[in-house]
Every structure is written in C-alpha cells, then in structure tokens.
C-alpha cells in the first residue's frame, strides 16, 4: 500500500533511479574487483579493534553488500575477550566545545542505554533555556 502511494506521488524521474542504481552497482563491482584493497582494509580494521578487545583474527569476515539505497560493509569479527583496561588518552576538544563541556557533569564511564536516553535530553533542554550558554556544536 505504502509502495503504491510512493509510486503515485514520487516525483523522482526514472533516470534518477537509474543513476542511483548504477552508482551502487558500480561501487559493489569495483569493491569485488579490488580484493587487495578489501584485504588491507580488513587488516587495518582488525588492527584498530584489537587495540580495545582481543579478536579472533583467523575468523574475521569483511564483506560488502548492496542494500536498498547503500552499499554496506558487513564486518563479522569474533571477540575473544576484553583487553586489560588502559584508557586511551583523548585528544583535547576544540575551545568552543570546552566551555560547553565544563557545564556538563563528568562523563559516565559505563553508560547503559537507559541512562543515556533519560539523562541526555534533560540536560539539553536546560541548556537551551539558558540564553548565554555557549553553542554546543560548532
């Protein structure tokens, strides 16, 4: 039903659809035809993830899949365990952000999805009411 209405009201000419399909299919083709690029991407990916967790490098699988409107990279990287906790030093934020961060409470070390979804919007609302607050973004 939704598809039907989409078709009726979609003003997009079919040449635009063709262009988009062509772009996606060529992206997939070029990835498939460049196994060396994919291999080195996979190696880099594993190297980065290995900084944080122990991975089973022999059973990693990186593939590309053409989906509805994007080409997606699917990485299946088995994790064997955590690395001993060593906090990576974070790069210093730009000055504009630093002031906004000073208003915020210290970052939560282990954010669960619940705390993130309840705490964040409240803070944002409060800050927005404060006319003198420094912009949080850019």
């Amino acid at each position: 039903m939704l598809e039907f209405f989409k078709r009726i009201f979609n003003p997009q000419p079919s040449s635009v659809t063709a262009r988009e399909r062509l772009r996606l299919v060529l992206l997939s083709d070029h990835l498939a035809l460049a196994p060396d690029v994919v291999e080195s991407l996979k190696a880099d990916l594993i190297a980065v993830i290995s900084k944080y967790v122990d991975v089973d490098a022999d059973h990693c699988d990186v593939t590309f899949e053409q989906q509805e409107s994007v080409v997606a990279m699917l990485a299946n990287i088995p994790i064997l365990g955590m690395k001993p906790v060593a906090k990576a030093p974070r790069p210093a934020p730009p000055p504009a952000l630093r002031q906004a961060q000073d208003d915020m409470p210290p970052p939560i070390t282990d954010p669960s999805p619940v705390s993130a979804s309840t705490a964040k919007p409240r803070r944002r609302r409060r800050r927005r009411s404060n006319a003198n607050a420094a912009p949080a973004h850019g």
Binding site: P13, S14, S15, A18, R19, L22, V25, L26, D29
Partner: protein, 286 residues
C-alpha cells in the same frame, strides 16, 4: 610520433631529393569495437563507422570476430558474396585476398567475415593477431567487430588492437558492462566512446540516462552520439548502412565520428535532436 614517421623524417634530412622514395609503409590503425553487453549495436556501429571511414577516402577492412554468430555481412548487405571466412584464412584453406569481400558501394571498403559454423575456441589467438598485423600493412584502418562477453572471443578480438571504441546505450546494464570492459582493456589500449540509441525526448522527460550520466561513469573521450531512430532499423533491414545516406542526420553523425577518428573533424559531438512532428509524419525511410 609514429616510429615510421620518425624514420622518414630522418631519411629526408640526409637526402632532401630522393629519386624514388621507397616511402616506408605506415601501419594502419587497428580499432576494436566492443561493449561487453550484447545487443547494444556493436555490429551496426562497426559497419557504419567503416563505411564512413572508407567514404572519406581511407582503405578500410572490417573483420568480424564474432565466430559462430556472424552478422556483420548481413548488416553490410554482403552476405551473398561471402565465399571464405576468417578461419579458412587462419587455417590455410583460403588465400586472404580470396576471403576479402569488396563493397561495391564504397571504394576501399573490404569485409573479412567470421565463420558461422565454428566456435570462438577454434580461433588461435596468436594466429589471429598475426592476421591483424598482416591487414595493418595493407589497410589504413582495421576495424574489428568484437563479440559480446569477455571470454575467448573478446580476448581474440582485442589481442591485435591498440584502440577501442566502446559502444554503450543509456542503460544501467550497458554502462555497467562497459565499465568492466574498460577495466579489462587496461592502459595499453586507447579507448573512446560512442553512446548509441539515445532517445532525446526520453532524456528530456527524465526517463532515460543522458550522455552526461553515462560518461560521468565511464569518463571516456566521446566520439559521437547516435539517436535511436527508425532509419537505422530500416537501413539494417535493407543491408544498406545508414552512413551511406549523407542526407540523414544519423548518416551525418557517423561521418563526423569517422572524421574524429581520422582527426579532420574538430567539432564536439552533438546530442541528437528530437524528431519533429512533421519529420515523423513525412519521414522518407520505409
């Protein structure tokens, strides 16, 4: 600069007035017409570009490399005059001169037909390459009609060529296959593009990929654009390549393509115009 031209220049410096200069034979250019996808108009393009080149005064041989599915003779209207084919020559069953069919409408145009009853695997690639080299000594242009696909027939067809014309229609599948073929041709081959079967009215209404859309992907020097028009079908029905008809816009377009290949035509390729109502009503071709 072509090596033989360099040679000649050196020769002239030493002796400015040679009695009877044994002009070094300049090797002809070998251009393969290919596309990857079938049914986009490779054979029609080969026939018409060949006719247009010959009409411009060049010595041209058209070689059908589509062994097993030969069609170039049909499109040219020469099917009744083919006696020997390319494999006869390669296997020593016929002399090259006996296998070359002359086109009586345009002087300087010859056809070397493919074998209908054989297979592409029967063609020995080095031998085919040798034949092409032999033809390049005798003709200004050797145009090879490449079969569809990227298998043995394609490999044979491109073996002796150092230039390629990609024929591509404004369709997703054709552009995709053309992109693949360009990748397979590699750096060695100089590649140009003909966009075939364009329907300007559909492009205007956003119902067909435009020449720009196609070439945004392929990024090739554009030789020309051929409209999808009834005249091409009618001329193929009759076995009279439309390039013979100088009055038709498509015939003109092929002549300009030939001019761009030779280097005499410097104008940028034109996008075909839409057929007018009266043009459709009173179109001469039947």
């Amino acid at each position: 600069m072509h090596p033989s031209t360099e040679l000649r220049a050196g020769y002239l410096e030493e002796d400015p007035l040679p009695a009877a200069p044994p002009a070094p034979q300049r090797r002809g250019r070998c251009i393969v017409v290919t596309s990857g996808k079938g049914g986009v108009g490779k054979t029609t393009t080969t026939a018409n570009v060949g006719v247009a080149l010959a009409a411009g005064g060049a010595r041209v041989v058209l070689v059908d490399a589509d062994v097993g599915l030969r069609n170039l003779d049909i499109v040219l209207g020469l099917e009744a005059r083919v006696r020997h084919h390319v494999l006869d020559v390669l296997e020593g069953q016929a002399e090259l001169d006996d296998a070359l069919v002359s086109d009586k409408r345009v002087s300087g145009l010859k056809l070397l037909a493919a074998s209908q009853t054989r297979e592409k695997d029967d063609v020995d690639t080095p031998a085919f390459r040798g034949l092409i080299d032999q033809l390049r000594e005798r003709f200004d242009y050797v145009l090879i009609d490449c079969p569809a696909g990227i298998e043995k027939g394609f490999q044979n067809a491109i073996a002796g060529a150092d230039e390629a014309i990609i024929v591509c229609t404004p369709e997703v599948s054709a552009v995709r296959d053309a992109d693949r073929v360009v990748g397979l041709l590699g750096e060695r081959v100089k590649v140009t593009l003909i966009v075939n079967r364009l329907r300007p009215a559909l492009v205007r209404r956003g119902k067909m990929l435009s020449v720009e859309d196609v070439n945004a992907i392929l990024r090739l020097p554009l030789l020309g654009v051929i409209a999808d028009e009834p005249g091409v079908i009618v001329s193929t029905n009759k076995g009279e390549p439309i390039a013979l008809d100088v009055a038709s816009p498509t015939g003109q377009a092929y002549r300009k393509i030939a001019g761009r290949i030779v280097g005499t035509e410097t104008s940028a390729p034109e996008i075909p115009r839409e057929a007018t109502f009266f043009g459709k009503l009173f179109g001469g071709q039947r």
